[in-house]
Symmetry: C2
Subunit: 112 residues, 2 copies
């Protein structure tokens, strides 16, 4: 399975967590469950890709939205309280720490 | 133009910088020039996608490699000294701060 990074015009929110290695998998599972339950049905949601650091201590959610307005709408959804509660219950040491980006350039390799 | 996030088996290196807003564009340009000159021709390089934070203060390079071994080979390439020099000349306030990840799950929206 693959996801696509759309260049330009797309709003990218990178959300990071620090976590104890023994809780990394459960933290991802908790957020995935909420994204599948309601976030993915929000207008303008493009994709959310979950990353587990190889050292076990970080989780990164690379989320793309059609626009900043779509993202802001998500953050105002009352269901967000359950997402926050699920994250809190999973017990990260830090985060969510989100930063909003725009994709400015993508360079592909020569081997594919 | 789009780039693809390949799930599983792919080694993802997320590299972050903190930067003064007036230097953000030049920092990205400096790294892009090096990636285009030699990094993209390294065996196992999949893609490198550059992100500028909307607040001007962060740069994120989302880089994918076929394997951790391919990435390690890149870090040992003598050309890396010029990449490091180019980054230093662009004057970031912090970074490069790299974290190695594996993609564990990608969820697509319903609107495309």
């Amino acid at each position: 399975m693959t996801a696509t990074i759309r260049e330009n015009a797309t709003f990218t929110q990178v959300v990071r967590f620090e976590v104890a290695p023994e809780k990394q998998e459960a933290l991802i599972a908790a957020i995935v469950a909420e994204v599948e339950r309601w976030v993915r049905f929000r207008p303008g949601f493009v994709s959310s890709t979950f990353h587990a650091s190889l050292d076990g201590r970080h989780v990164l959610n690379y989320a793309q939205w059609e626009s900043e307005e779509a993202f802001r709408g998500f953050t105002r959804d009352p269901e967000g309280e359950r997402l926050s509660a699920a994250i809190k219950a999973a017990g990260p040491e830090a985060g969510p720490d989100g930063t909003a980006f725009r994709v400015v350039r993508s360079i592909a390799g020569t081997s594919r």
